[in-house]
Subunit: 231 residues, 2 copies
């Protein structure tokens, strides 16, 4: 059984972060499936905090790159932000921070491999950020994100990540026009934990599929998968 105490120790040891309200941390790392299996414990699950954390990350990243690249036009800022906040990036950060070890899952979800599912890891990264923001405010989030994400800008980390959709377009259209179409082919899961599957086609031929917690994220995954097949 996963103890929030162990998570607190991990955060202190690895990041020097001490939570004042550990119930926020518990909420951020608990999936609905776990709450359903422990009805007497009156637990909360992460979705609401993740909703907030998503917006906190949008602003934290936006403000940082706005200030850091004073000459960068808006279009490029937008593409960089997309690369930095996409599911692929957040799920990697979650793994790097070893957050996967501390997620409280129901038995069915555990068996289904949810602990290594990219969409869940991304959600948990955002919900952790939401909890940190509520517990300690914006500065603590900036400190953490600087260590975990912003240092990677110097390492050219996001140059490779940048905008798979544009990359796919450039790749496909190098010899002339191609009609690229993204289409949602399925939406699964309950509303608060929905996963979108998007198919991408070139001139009506299916070239890739991708999943994500939003249509945008699923599109990026589809483009990435198409590219890795085509190249």
């Amino acid at each position: 059984m996963i103890k929030i105490k162990a998570l607190e120790e991990h955060l202190e040891k690895t990041f020097g972060i001490h939570f004042n309200d550990s119930s926020l941390l518990a909420e951020a790392f608990t999936q609905a499936s776990y709450v359903n299996e422990h009805p007497k414990e009156n637990l909360k699950y992460y979705e609401r905090i993740e909703f907030l954390g998503d917006a906190v990350m949008q602003l934290t990243v936006s403000e940082y790159i706005y200030q850091r690249y004073p000459e960068m036009p808006q279009g490029k800022l937008s593409r960089l932000r997309i690369a930095m906040v996409q599911e692929d990036s957040f799920s990697k950060f979650a793994l790097e921070c070893q957050f996967d070890q501390f997620i409280r899952l129901g038995k069915g979800e555990e068996k289904a491999g949810a602990r290594s599912r990219s969409s869940l890891l991304c959600d948990i990264f955002e919900s952790f950020i939401g909890a940190l923001y509520l517990d300690q405010g914006k500065e603590a989030v900036v400190d953490f994100v600087t260590k975990v994400i912003f240092v990677k800008l110097d390492q050219g980390w996001f140059e490779q990540e940048v905008d798979y959709k544009t990359k796919l377009q450039e790749f496909l259209q190098q010899h002339g026009d191609v009609v690229i179409d993204y289409e949602v082919v399925s939406e699964t899961g309950i509303e608060s934990d929905r996963v979108y599957t998007v198919a991408v086609s070139a001139d009506d031929q299916l070239i890739g599929e991708g999943n994500g917690t939003s249509k945008k994220r699923a599109e990026v995954q589809a483009a990435k998968n198409a590219l890795s097949k085509l190249q």
Copy 2:
């Protein structure tokens, strides 16, 4: 000719807001077309500040509704946020604040009616928020947004606005399943000032079109237009 001085007076008189750095305000209210017509003045246009303002609004709205509705599930929070930050809402707020009078446009854009264009009004609302955030920080933004937007929650303002896409779906599917599809039919304008046109169809029959500064916003407009025709 539009003077930033007049805008400063308007903000002081109407909202009690005094800008420390009026060059931020000038940047926030200047469109690229105006900059191009005044090459010697070394002006900046609003897109970068709008990029920041968009994220500031996302967080300001998210944090407010997260705190105000402690029992509201994430799905409903998301729909409410979409309703509050959609182009339709922001362009109305911009008009209500009389921001349209102070936008600096090139002559061609002025003739083309840009001053009353919903997508531009929405952009300017966001860029004003970005400038206010840079000049005076988060609290000043919360104060302003409380007066202009959050008071409208009590007036039931967003209940009518909520989620045209869900409304359209419910309307179309009241007598059985209907395949609803949104498709981008055109993208116009330069990258930093792009307008998307989205067509929405029901069982392959076109039922509406809409424009917006993002695909999501264009989809919401298309759903709204379809609904007003169908109902």
